[in-house]
């Protein structure tokens, strides 16, 4: 520890800190532009120049380490003179177009110019003009405003993992740009909007729509992936205008993924369902709530009374709130059915009986960046969990080894120590090999290397991604991963796919003994269904099968914020609120319950889901539905300590059985090809699907059917050709695309997409033929 003095304040500070660090900690504000707590020090803006006793010239606080006895003056005449001089330099070429700048009112340059700028400029020469760049649908550029602080550049290098922006040119001609006309494609790109201290990088979807000071900011929680990013939702006139990160070091830090940031556009989609609708005599019509509810209740009760309660099934999206999920299962069980599930994309439920709790990350999110070694099984990590991927990248930067067993080899933007890229079916055998290696058996080199990696270091983990959880042999992957973790002393966890993947288990939105799971409800169609937030044509493992089951049912009650394709299979449409229009709770992948309130009033006749379910419960005369508030529902749903309900372990006997029964069994495919059908990030839930700007990004484009060269030639097509792709009866024409990193015998065709939804199961057999 060192003793220093800043502005007369005596401080005891840690060796190795900078003046900026200790001043910030002591609440002494030093003006800055290029400095950012999460980025490396650049010291280029010079705004933080301060006077240091005995130093011949002013020193940049951000880059000057403290030394014993140092005396710093941040507000002395010399310091202020230096700071004002820098401000003058920053402003001479700045356009000062604040009246037409979106950053106006939340601009660091504008704010500091009030304190350090002069009333009039001494600069009368020509100003510099920098041409704007089109860097994609999310970020708008006004590069003349840029002050070259390079925060955006450093973000790409250090956090985003890809250097998408850089500074070219020298001196006054230096400018920030992308690499030769490229767009910004990082899944974390929107953060550079927040980082930009001026109006050079602003939000394209938000542009010119509101002034910062007109907006009301309310806290919320992201409804998308399992991270549960903390949001600041900004509204005006009862409409969401913008979403910004709310700092939470333990979850999203100060970042947001683009999905969390830009999905809000979907909330204002014209596809929003605004009034209840019923289908009578084959005709759809809008109606009031009582009529719609009575219609729904009558239909459900009729099925229950005539065909039996077990003929009612409930499917819910894990993007629903805890309260909704809890009331849904309570309602269904209240009328005598055990058929309720939220695992719509899962296909293998054979481990269900061995499960002992809600599967979760198995550790704190913040522990991810401290790992020494990690094995990821089955994940399109960057797309599914952009900020967890970022944390793992930071771990790798600190020396951690990242190991991967996956059917796709997408660039993780960091070093991957060992990877086994194999067909989905072969992942099981590979993981078994790792298990064998840890048990001391002799196995192939890659499994040996992964095992060796997991055997070293203190902090290690085995994590199952979305792809593993949707895998047709999920139970085996689960059992093997559990064993691998146990043998290596690693933590074992699941990367939660949705905002409430954990919460849905806690709420009981899973079948227990006697109840049917999602697949069973569709394999053995029910006469009545309640769908909560589900877009049946997109959100299930096999949409073809789902639609067939729904279309044959007598009563399908859809509770959704969007109409979508529901009129094709539903009988009642009940408009329920998205997360911004209801209070609710998401339990994120680390088992943290985060509650939130509505930030705007429900749109049109929309009602919060928990209230709709409460009324349904009352109308169906189910006991215990007399709630006055969402808090009451929440308390009942959570019922004490969450942590004791989190458990990734399969019970011993079943575990052994799963492994022994299936060991070494590969599946065979008549036509030789297996689909890799992961859900693209921007198709993963109903809100993001309708986020117009995100849908214009490169990541959202459905590109085609990817195969490696060997597979392409085996089906006799060349790269770029049109191919007819089919699984069941329906086929779709896609472009054949080449990705030599894919394993042979696999065709990567995105799921959850309107163009491919009719194909069938995400990892089932697939046929590819030359089109036409």
């Amino acid at each position: 520890m060192l003793n220093i003095e800043i502005d007369g304040k005596q401080l005891t500070v840690e060796q190795g800190s900078t003046i900026m660090d200790v001043a910030d900690a002591a609440g002494i504000y030093i003006p800055r532009f290029c400095y950012h707590k999460k980025l490396s020090v650049a010291a280029n803006c010079r705004m933080c120049l301060v006077q240091v006793e005995k130093a011949p010239k002013p020193m940049p606080a951000c880059a000057t380490p403290v030394t014993e006895g140092m005396k710093v003056m941040t507000r002395s005449e010399a310091a202020i003179k230096a700071q004002k001089a820098v401000m003058e330099f920053l402003l001479i070429n700045h356009p000062l177009d604040c009246p037409i700048c979106d950053q106006g009112g939340e601009c660091e340059l504008q704010d500091l110019a009030v304190g350090y700028g002069a009333g009039a400029s001494r600069y009368t020469e020509e100003k510099r003009v920098v041409f704007n760049k089109n860097i994609g649908p999310l970020i708008n550029t006004d590069m003349t405003r840029c002050i070259n602080c390079t925060r955006c550049v450093r973000f790409g290098q250090e956090i985003g993992g890809m250097m998408e922006m850089g500074q070219i040119g020298r001196g006054e001609h230096a400018e920030i740009t992308t690499f030769i006309e490229r767009s910004i494609d990082s899944e974390l790109s929107g953060n550079i909007i927040d980082l930009c201290p001026v109006g050079a990088l602003t939000s394209k979807p938000f542009r010119y729509s509101a002034r910062a000071w007109e907006l009301t900011t309310r806290p919320s929680v992201s409804p998308h992936d399992g991270l549960g990013a903390n949001l600041s939702v900004q509204t005006k006139n009862n409409r969401v205008f913008r979403v910004l990160p709310r700092d939470n070091e333990e979850i999203n830090e100060c970042w947001l993924s683009d999905k969390d940031r830009f999905s809000y556009e979907g909330l204002n989609s014209p596809e929003r369902l605004q009034r209840p609708m019923i289908k009578q005599s084959g005709e759809w019509r809008e109606c009031d709530w009582p009529e719609a509810l009575e219609f729904a209740v009558a239909g459900l009760m009729r099925v229950r009374d005539q065909q039996g309660a077990e003929q009612v099934g409930a499917l819910a999206t894990p993007h629903s709130t805890l309260e909704e999920l809890y009331l849904l299962q309570k309602l269904v069980r209240g009328i005598g059915s055990g058929n309720v599930d939220h695992r719509l994309l899962q296909s293998d439920f054979s481990a269900d009986s061995a499960m002992q709790g809600a599967p979760w990350l198995g550790m704190k999110i913040a522990e991810l960046d401290q790992l020494n070694s990690v094995l990821i099984v089955g994940s399109t990590l960057r797309a599914d969990h952009p900020l967890l991927a970022h944390r793992l990248r930071q771990a790798v930067k600190r020396g951690a080894e990242l190991n991967l067993i996956n059917p796709v080899d997408d660039d993780l933007l960091c070093r991957v120590a060992n990877k086994s890229i194999v067909a989905p079916d072969a992942m099981v055998a590979t993981l078994d090999q790792v298990r064998c290696a840890l048990a001391g058996e002799s196995v192939d080199a890659i499994a040996q290397a992964i095992a060796a990696s997991l055997n070293q270091g203190e902090r290690k983990a085995v994590l199952l991604g979305n792809l593993a959880q949707h895998h047709p042999r999920y139970a085996e992957l689960h059992a093997l991963a559990q064993q691998v973790a146990e043998l290596s002393g690693a933590k074992f966890g699941f990367l939660g796919g949705a905002a409430n993947s954990v919460g849905a288990y806690l709420a009981g939105a899973v079948p227990v003994t006697g109840g049917m799971n999602a697949a069973q409800m569709l394999d053995t169609p029910r006469h009545a269904y309640i769908l909560l937030g589900v877009e049946a044509d997109l959100d299930t493992y096999n949409p073809t099968k789902t639609l067939a089951a729904l279309q044959a049912a007598q009563m399908v009650v859809v509770m959704s914020a969007y109409k979508g394709k529901a009129p094709d299979y539903a009988h009642v449409l009940l408009p329920v609120a998205p997360f911004t229009e209801t209070s609710g709770t998401f339990v994120n992948t680390e088992g943290r319950a985060q509650s939130f309130n509505a930030v705007v009033k429900p749109l049109g006749e929309t009602r919060p889901g928990w209230k709709v379910l409460r009324v349904l419960g009352n109308l169906m005369e189910v006991a215990g539905f007399d709630y006055d508030s969402a808090e009451q529902v929440r308390a009942e749903a959570l019922n004490g300590d969450i942590s004791v309900k989190l458990n990734n372990q399969l019970a011993g006997a079943a575990l052994a059985a799963i492994i022994c029964t299936n060991r070494g069994q590969g599946r065979s495919y008549t036509h030789g090809l297996q689909r890799i059908g992961e859900v693209p990030s921007y198709q993963a839930d109903p809100i993001v699907r309708r986020a117009t700007a995100l849908q214009k990004t490169a990541a959202a484009a459905l590109q085609g059917a990817w195969m490696n060269a060997e597979t392409l030639s085996s089906v006799g097509v060349s790269e770029g050709a049109d191919v007819s792709v089919s699984q069941g009866t329906d086929s779709v024409v896609l472009k054949a695309l080449r990705d030599d990193l894919l394993p042979a015998g696999c065709v990567r065709v995105a799921a959850g997409h309107p163009a491919t939804a009719m194909l069938g199961g995400m990892f089932d057999e697939i046929r590819v033929e030359r089109a036409g």
Binding site: N44, R46, P56, L90, R122, Q167, E172
Partner: protein, 421 residues
């Protein structure tokens, strides 16, 4: 014995060839170091004694700089030679490469030995291609003769030198920008600390010396620090190469003892061109303040004497101006250089150099305003000492020097919208 340290053999034919360098006892210093197994401490001691100061412009004592290099560092260390000679008025290092490259190589090898470096890099200015090629040829000769590379002179010690040709950016002469450039990055100075001695090339401890500095090392090793010191004057040891340009009859490089009167140097360069009157001298390259001719005539050419007069010896680049020179026009040209060469990284230099140039350009073109001179002084003052590297100071000092000594010319320009000369 010649009274020259570096250009002692350049009157001989093909002085750059290894065989000819060996004829004048070349590589004897290296042989002595290896044969006697001289300790690094002993070599540094001699360098300190010699009062050799960095010839790149800053004049930092070389022995002291070498002693900053961590001794027991477990990883690689590097020695870098800075031949990125880009300052207007400076053209000495190219002549070293051209005429006596082996002495530089010998100096670098001894430096590498002393500092425990794994390898040496010579960063050569982008605009001197022929000299770069000659240096590469000399490296090849040295390697073939067993003087460089693996197992040097049978000593069991390995050291190699790589030539790195730059791309012509002035700022890459700044040592940390130079390191960035070797690493393949945009040539932009790093902020310090950390200093290169702890975090240099590829993040490893690195010592960077100027070409002339390193080329002086063999002499010091061979003849001892005392002998070198005696060639100059206390605290300003050795000889120094002065590049004399501008209005003289015989421009060129002159290697003379430190402390030689300027008048003698001017005479060596043939005196002021066509016998005209000496108006002003920029004594150390375009970045240092100009001094009026009458002040210069009383000075000796060494760090301390020039500094006392308010300027710097710099790299010994003497730009002589006679009485036909318009100081406004001269400053406009200088300021344009710094405006063009600023790397753009930090604010005061990126924004300030353009501002200075534009105002001076206006004055030169008859659009000056009375308040411009105070503005120039203020802007130059606001750049000075506020930037990451010394380029900001280099842009500010010429302005400050000109306004200090020739303010009346600028005022005349503003008032009469034309030149007084």
């Amino acid at each position: 014995m010649s009274d020259k340290v570096i250009f002692h053999s350049t009157h001989l034919p093909e002085s750059w060839k290894l065989e000819n360098y060996l004829k004048v006892d070349g590589y004897d210093a290296l042989k002595k170091v290896l044969a006697e197994k001289m300790t690094p401490e002993a070599i540094i001691e001699q360098v300190k004694l010699s009062a050799l100061r960095g010839r790149g412009g800053a004049g930092f004592p070389t022995g002291l700089k070498w002693s900053f290099m961590p001794k027991n560092y477990p990883g690689d260390k590097y020695l870098v030679c800075n031949t990125d000679e880009g300052e207007p008025g400076t053209f000495k290092d190219r002549d070293i490469l051209r005429l006596n490259p082996h002495q530089l190589i010998e100096g670098m090898i001894i430096g590498g030995y002393t500092l425990g470096a794994k390898a040496g890099y010579n960063y050569i200015h982008g605009e001197i291609w022929a000299e770069y090629e000659r240096f590469e040829e000399a490296l090849d000769e040295a390697r073939a003769a067993g003087l460089l590379g693996k197992n040097i002179l049978g000593s069991g010690w390995d050291f190699d030198i790589h030539a790195h040709h730059g791309y012509g950016a002035y700022v890459c002469g700044e040592e940390t920008a130079l390191l960035e450039s070797i690493e393949g990055k945009k040539g932009q100075p790093r902020f310090k600390p950390p200093f290169p001695a702890s975090f240099g090339l590829y993040g490893k401890p690195t010592t960077i010396n100027n070409t002339e500095t390193l080329a002086s090392i063999p002499y010091i090793v061979k003849h001892g620090g005392q002998k070198f010191l005696e060639l100059g004057k206390p605290n300003n040891g050795g000889t120094k190469i002065f590049s004399v340009s501008g209005h003289v009859n015989n421009p060129g490089n002159f290697e003379i003892g430190m402390g030689t009167p300027f008048s003698e140097l001017l005479a060596m360069a043939g005196g002021v061109k066509d016998g005209r009157k000496l108006k002003a001298v920029i004594p150390g390259g375009s970045s240092v303040p100009v001094l009026p001719g009458e002040i210069m005539m009383d000075l000796t050419m060494d760090y301390d004497s020039i500094a006392k007069a308010g300027s710097y010896l710099g790299a010994g680049s003497v730009i002589v101006m006679d009485d036909t020179v318009c100081m406004v026009r001269a400053l406009e040209r200088l300021s344009y250089f710094y405006f063009e060469e600023s790397c753009g990284q930090c604010t005061p230099c990126r924004e300030g150099t353009g501002w200075l140039y534009r105002v001076i350009h206006r004055i030169e073109h008859g659009q000056g305003r009375p308040e411009d001179l105070d503005l120039l002084e203020s802007v130059a003052g606001n750049i000075m000492g506020r930037t990451i590297c010394a380029l900001g100071d280099a842009a500010a000092m010429p302005v400050q020097g000109m306004l200090k000594h020739f303010r009346n010319e600028f005022e005349h320009h503003i008032q009469h919208k034309k030149c007084m000369v």
